[in-house]
Amino acid sequence: MSGIARVLFPSTLDEALGWLADPALKATPLAGGITLSRLATVKVDTLVDVSRLGLDTIRDEGDVIAIGAGVRVQALKESHAADWVASGILRQAAGRIGSRLIRNAATVGGGLVHVGPWADLPVAFLVLDGTAVLVREGGSREVTFGEFLEKHPSRFLAPGELLTELRLPATAPGWGGAYYKFTRTEVDDALVSAAALVHLAEDGSCAEARIAVGAVRPLPERCATAEAALAGGPASAERVAAAAAAAAAGIKPTADARASREYRTHLVEVVVRRVLTEAIASARAEAGGGGKA
C-alpha cells in the first residue's frame, strides 16, 4: 500500500513549485503516472499533477528546439520539429519505447527522471548537446544531459526541483545522429541499444563521434574509447568496425535473465557498428542538404 494521501492540481507552475518545496506535504510531481503507479511503495504523501501547466509543447525557437518535459512520448515520435535534432534521433528513440499505450501515457520528462537500465530516450540524450531546465521555487538552472544523467537523476535533482524542459540545438550541417535498439519482439525492452552522433568534416572524415549504449549497465553510458577510435580519421567501414569493437571491449555488461553477458557484449559491437553506420549516412545527407542553421 502506498502512503499517498492526496493529489493536488496546481493552476500555475509557481503554485506547483511551492507545493513541491513544502516539506510538510512530502510531495512529488505526477506527470504520466505510469512509473509511480507501478512502484510497490511510494514514499511520498502528495502527488502534484504537473500535466496541466503547459509543459507539453514542442517549440521551434529557430536554433533551439525546446521540448516540454510533459510532452507525451508519442507526440515526440510524431513531432516534425524534433526532426531538426540530430537527424530525428529523439523521434527514433521515442518510437521504440514500449507500446502505443505506454507512449501515449509516458512523458519525455518522466522517461528521463525515471531512467532505468532499459531506458531509450536517455541513451539518445547522452550524445546530444543541449540542456535540461530544472526549476524550483525561487530559481532555476540548466544542466547538460551528461551532468543530468551521470548519476540517477532522482539523486541529482534537488528537493522541490522540477524538470520542465529539454533545450536542444538544431543540427548543424555535417552532423548526423541515429538510435538503434535490439529487441526480441517489436514491443520489448532493449537487449542492447545505442545512440550515435557524428560530425563529418568537409573532407568526409570524422571530426567528432559520440556514442552511448543502453541496457548493458544500470544506467546508459558513453563509450569514450569507441569515440576516440573513430574521431580524427576517415569515417570508413573499417574504422567504424574498430570503434564498435572498442565499445564492446570497453564495457562489461550486466547479465540478466534475457541475455548472457557474452551475448550482450557481442550485441554491443553489432549495435554500435550499425548505429554509427546510420549516423554517418545521416551526417552525409545533412552535409548534402545542409542542417537547419
Binding site: 493529489v7 492540481f9 499533477d49 499505450l101
Partner: protein, 192 residues
C-alpha cells in the same frame, strides 16, 4: 510510511467508506463525480463504478485490456491514477454503441469475426477509435502501431486489421462490401 500496523489495517478495512478525494470527469459524455482514494488506479475506479468493459488482464500496463481513452488518447488505465482523470474526458466502449446500435468499429469487428473470447476487444476497439479519429485513412503500419499494446491471444490479429479498415471506410462514408457471404439470405431477413 511509518504508520502503525493496526492503523494500516483499519484504513484498509475502512477502505470502502471514507474516500480521500473526489474527482469530476466526463465519462462517456456524462459528467460524473467519483469518490476515490488518492492512490487508486483508474481501472479499479472505473470497474467499481460499473464500467465493466474495462478489463484487467495484467495490472502492469502490458496487455491493453484496460485501455480507455483519456481526452481522446488510448492509455492503460491499470497504471494511471484515477486522480489523473480529474477534469478530463474518459471514454470506455460502453459509450461507443449498443448491441442494437453498434458503432461502425463494433459492427466491423462482429462481421469480420474479430472477437473470439472478446476479453481484449473493448480495449482494442478503443485504440482503433483513437486512431481513426485522427487518421481516417490509416496505413497498415499505422493500424498495427496503434494496436501494438493490445494483446490478443485468441486471434492472429488478422481479422481485427481487416475490421478496422472496413470500419474506416464506413466512417469515411464509403460503402465497403459486406464481408459475409452475400448469398446468406438470413442476414437480412430478420425475425419472425
Amino acid at each position: 510510511m511509518t504508520t502503525h500496523a493496526n492503523e494500516t489495517a483499519g484504513q484498509l478495512a475502512n477502505g470502502r467508506k471514507g474516500r480521500q478525494m473526489t474527482i469530476d470527469c466526463i465519462v462517456n459524455g456524462e459528467p460524473q463525480s467519483y469518490a476515490i482514494d488518492a492512490d487508486e488506479l483508474l481501472l479499479d475506479v472505473l470497474r467499481r463504478e460499473g464500467w465493466d468493459s474495462v478489463k484487467k488482464g495484467c495490472g502492469e500496463g502490458t496487455c491493453g485490456a484496460c485501455t480507455v481513452l483519456l481526452d481522446g488518447l488510448a492509455i492503460p488505465s491499470c497504471i494511471v491514477y484515477a486522480a489523473q482523470a480529474h477534469g478530463r474526458r474518459v471514454a470506455t466502449v460502453e459509450g461507443l454503441g449498443t448491441p442494437t446500435d453498434p458503432h461502425p468499429l463494433q459492427e466491423a469487428f462482429v462481421k469480420h469475426g474479430a472477437a473470439q473470447c472478446g476479453f481484449c476487444i473493448p480495449g482494442m476497439i478503443l485504440s482503433a477509435k483513437a486512431l481513426l479519429d485522427r487518421h481516417p485513412s490509416p496505413s497498415e503500419g499505422q493500424v498495427k502501431e496503434a494496436l501494438d499494446g493490445n494483446l490478443c491471444r485468441c486471434t492472429g490479429y488478422v481479422k481485427q486489421l481487416e475490421a478496422i479498415f472496413w470500419a474506416a471506410a464506413k466512417m469515411r462514408g464509403e460503402n465497403p462490401p459486406d464481408p459475409n457471404h452475400p448469398e446468406d439470405r438470413y442476414q437480412t431477413k430478420g425475425g419472425a
